[in-house]
């Protein structure tokens, strides 16, 4: 099991636009990825509804986890997405 803890950089938090872009990215990495909030709630990272349901604000920490071939690379690429202020693009 690979895990990575990331601080959400989006100035508006992980809501509609950043959440959509993140979930789309998670759906493409090839391994199932779990997103866990600091409060300990876990969802499928590829589910927009799941990501939104966590209600993650700017500067909050989240943990990504995945298993299997390519898990580390998948988490690295998704951490990059979370480290970017997606609402600025």
């Amino acid at each position: 099991m690979a895990t990575k803890t990331v601080t959400v950089a989006s100035s508006v938090g992980l809501h509609a636009r950043p959440a959509s872009l993140f979930a789309q990215a998670a759906a493409k990495v090839g391994v199932p990825v779990t997103l866990t909030s600091a409060a300990g709630k876990s969802v499928n990272a590829a589910s927009i509804l799941g990501v939104l349901s966590l209600g993650i604000g700017h500067g909050e920490e989240v943990t990504l986890s995945a298993e299997g071939d390519g898990a580390e690379a998948a988490l690295d690429s998704l951490a990059d997405v979370l480290n970017t202020d997606l609402d600025k693009e």
């Binding site: 636009r17 959509s20 209600g55 609402d87």
Partner: protein, 154 residues
């Protein structure tokens, strides 16, 4: 959770902002109807509706489960007077950039209110049975019942 608490969804959705039997000729028509519900509640200026379409052109607010949640851009926050939700049901569906949308929830929020609001709405829609019941709801009483959090889920 976020630093700002949002009111419960059923308190943010005015009865005048619910249309359970609508039809739309296009995605933008559907967004304008969701926006009209927010205007009817006195929550936003008409300019907010244009921002909702701008946002949709930037990234789709289609969420799965036949549901879209159109809302304005960050730049349009000044057009928001109070947090509110609108609901428009399209029994015949709307072609939403290739997705079949049956329900549109218009969302307006000041400050960081949108995070808690979206979180509440997403938590309900994640339950496929509740999402289906909302898509099939024909009375406002049923909508309010479905949007009221189940105390056992807290």
């Amino acid at each position: 959770m976020s630093d700002e608490e949002s009111k419960p969804l059923h308190e943010l959705l005015a009865e005048a902002s619910i249309n359970l039997d609508a039809s739309a000729t296009s995605r933008d028509d559907a967004i304008r109807q969701a926006g009209a519900g927010l205007i009817a509640a006195g929550s936003v200026d008409p300019a907010y509706v244009d921002a909702m379409i701008d946002r949709e052109n930037s990234v789709s607010t289609f969420m799965g489960e036949g549901v879209a949640i159109p809302h304005g851009t960050l730049a349009a926050k000044d057009s928001v007077k109070s947090d509110a939700l609108s609901m428009v049901r399209f029994p015949a569906g709307v072609d939403w950039d290739g997705n079949d949308v049956r329900l549109a929830f218009g969302i307006a929020a000041k400050g960081n209110g949108h995070i808690a609001l979206l979180s509440q709405l997403a938590s309900i829609l994640m339950d496929p049975e509740k999402a289906e019941a909302l898509r099939n709801a024909t009375t406002t009483a049923r909508v309010y019942e479905l949007l009221t959090p189940d105390p056992e889920d807290e």
